[in-house]
């Protein structure tokens, strides 16, 4: 299948949603061509509102629209949605539990050349900690396209984290997105990998290589980071001795933290967290950044060998 970015799928899916649901309004802050929210203008230009480069206002305006019964989609880059407008999201949207869907693109370091000022590696942490907020992240375009209509159906605030980079599809056309449940991509036995977003594809590539050398990992795509499918996570954890989390986000507060919080309550075990190691990244090509910040398939292979290999030595 062709490489497609999750933001492309968002634009496509949102067009379909707007076509069938007259209650949807769409806002953007001067990035509608990049986030792809502007695609809805082709369906109905009257429900699209460009709010200019003023993300704080956009979020509170979205809250006002939702307070009037609309389903408000608000898009920007993750940095300016979750970061710049954090407090508006917290107070205008989440506190009154309003029906605003914050669909942020350009999350993580795969933004690439724009550099650290635009590479949001904190948004999962920021959004996850807000009461009433759901946090979703599609692994590929196939999943994003199915996720958006489900987001429309969800009551209350939702944060959807998407990427700039066009990537290989993890899922084929037979995939069925199930809201709230972890997506087991391959059930192995030797080690359990929880991944989210673009890291699902990197982990999948890593697993393909690892199987060749006799290590058979279980790969799980966590598309819904909050509320986490605790039952699914614990059930999988019980079947494995080793657990690794991989995310294109800071290792503080993101997917790894969510999995660790779940396990420490329900099934205490050790978790190895891969992600951005509490540092700002830099400009570069996405693949170069994934390599340097140890988020590519090679780094995952190495980490699995290390964790799994150490265990062999212990025995």
């Amino acid at each position: 299948m062709a490489k497609i970015a999750t933001r492309e799928a968002y634009g496509k899916a949102l067009m379909e949603c707007v076509r069938t649901n007259p209650n949807i309004v769409v806002l953007d802050a001067d990035l509608s061509g990049s986030t792809k929210s502007g695609s809805v203008k082709k369906v109905n230009p009257d429900i699209f509102f460009n709010m200019g480069i003023a993300e704080g206002n956009m979020m509170s305006v979205a809250a006002g629209l939702a307070a009037s019964g609309k389903i408000a989609f608000a898009s920007s880059f993750a940095m300016f949605a979750a970061g710049r407008a954090y407090e508006q999201i917290r107070n205008s949207i989440a506190y009154p539990a309003l029906n605003v869907k914050i669909c942020a693109s350009h999350a993580g370091i795969s933004v690439g050349e724009d550099g650290a000022s635009h590479q949001c590696i904190e948004d999962i942490a920021l959004m996850r900690v807000i009461p009433n907020m759901r946090v979703l992240q599609p692994a590929d375009a196939v999943e994003a396209e199915q996720m958006i209509p489900e987001v429309v159906k969800m009551e209350g605030p939702v944060y959807v984290r998407m990427s700039r980079l066009a990537t290989e599809q993890v899922h084929d056309e037979n995939y069925k997105f199930v809201p709230g449940k972890v997506d087991v991509i391959h059930e192995g036995k030797d080690i359990l990998i929880f991944a989210s977003g673009l890291e699902v594809n990197e982990a999948k590539l890593a697993c393909d290589e690892l199987r060749k050398e006799g290590i058979d990992p279980t790969l799980v795509n966590v598309h819904t980071i909050k509320p986490l499918d605790e039952e699914g996570v614990v059930e999988l954890a019980k079947k494995h001795k080793h657990i690794i989390t991989v995310e294109e986000h800071s290792v503080i507060g993101g997917l790894g933290s969510a999995i660790a919080e779940c396990l420490i309550k329900n099934y205490p075990t050790s978790v190895t967290m891969m992600g951005v190691q509490d540092t700002f990244a830099e400009s570069g090509k996405p693949n170069e950044l994934f390599k340097k910040y140890e988020l590519d398939s090679t780094a995952i292979i190495k980490k699995v060998q290390e964790v799994y290999g150490n265990d062999k030595v212990e025995r």
Partner: protein, 271 residues
């Protein structure tokens, strides 16, 4: 329509309740609640179409208290209007619906949760856009503080309201010239606010915010403005109605003692 005398009586009752609520809670914001009392009384009794049959509906005029700390005023107005079941003295108490800053999900008649300054006016912009989309004639009202205009978001909202020609939006700016740290002119001078809103594309009406004729005329004028939002720039007195609170920034967010409460109520006309 209520007569001026009737409105003034309601406003006096509202002011007394503000004093009682804040005193009982031993916290809250009396100064800016009292300064906006005449404006909000006129709005709820003679301007907005809100009554017990439509209070839970979106199909009516709506109001956003962008200066959310004036919650005692909003609760007291809703009570005076017969729309609020809660005991006003539960204000700021544990398990009460009357939160320190208003929550729209707890109280019918509170149309937006506010408290963090600058956000309410943006939400009002969103509501006005929604009314335009729905092609209804309902109006959106908002009350802002003058200190609040130091928040950059107010100007983002002002720009958006003019850009989308929201003539169904009418904001009132309670220009009492005091904020918690002192005079707005000393803290971070926002003046000239009338000219700034004009420059942002708003129709601006300057009034004495304690003169009932001027308040009523301004709301009426705003209804007839086409193609742009209206700002009612209301000169007010912080703490209005209680002499020892008037024009004193110290009464921004401090509760009266029981003795001061008694003196205030006496000045407002007994109990």
């Amino acid at each position: 329509m209520y007569t001026k005398e009737e409105l003034m009586q309601h406003a006096t009752n509202i002011r007394k309740n503000i004093i009682k609520m804040v005193t009982n809670a031993k916290s809250g914001h009396p100064g800016g609640s009292l300064s906006s009392a005449d404006i909000l009384t006129t709005l709820y009794f003679n301007v907005m179409d809100i009554h017990s049959d439509n209070v839970n509906s979106l199909d009516r005029d709506r109001f956003v208290l962008s200066k959310g700390h004036a919650s005692p005023l909003l609760y007291a107005v809703l009570k005076e209007k017969g729309l609020l079941e809660e005991d006003l003295l539960s204000f700021r108490m544990i398990d009460s619906n009357l939160q320190g800053h208003p929550n729209m999900n707890y109280v019918a008649g509170v149309d937006m949760s506010t408290g963090s300054l600058g956000q309410g006016i943006s939400a009002a912009v969103g509501m006005a856009i929604a009314n335009k989309l729905d092609k209804n004639d309902h109006r959106i009202y908002a009350l802002m503080g003058d200190g609040e205009s130091q928040e950059g978001q107010v100007w983002e909202a002002a720009m958006a309201a003019a850009h989308y020609k929201l003539d169904n939006l009418c904001a009132v700016l309670d220009y009492n010239e005091l904020q918690i740290d002192g005079s707005v002119h000393d803290v971070m001078d926002p003046a000239p606010l009338d000219e700034k809103f004009q420059a942002f594309g708003w129709h601006v009406i300057e009034i004495d915010g304690h003169n009932y004729d001027e308040i009523a005329n301004a709301f009426e004028e705003a209804k007839n403005v086409k193609g742009k939002p209206t700002l009612i720039f209301a000169h007010t007195i912080k703490g209005k109605g209680v002499s020892f609170m008037e024009n004193n920034a110290n009464w921004h967010g401090v509760a009266p003692t029981p003795e001061q409460c008694e003196a205030a109520l006496k000045e407002l006309g007994g109990e």
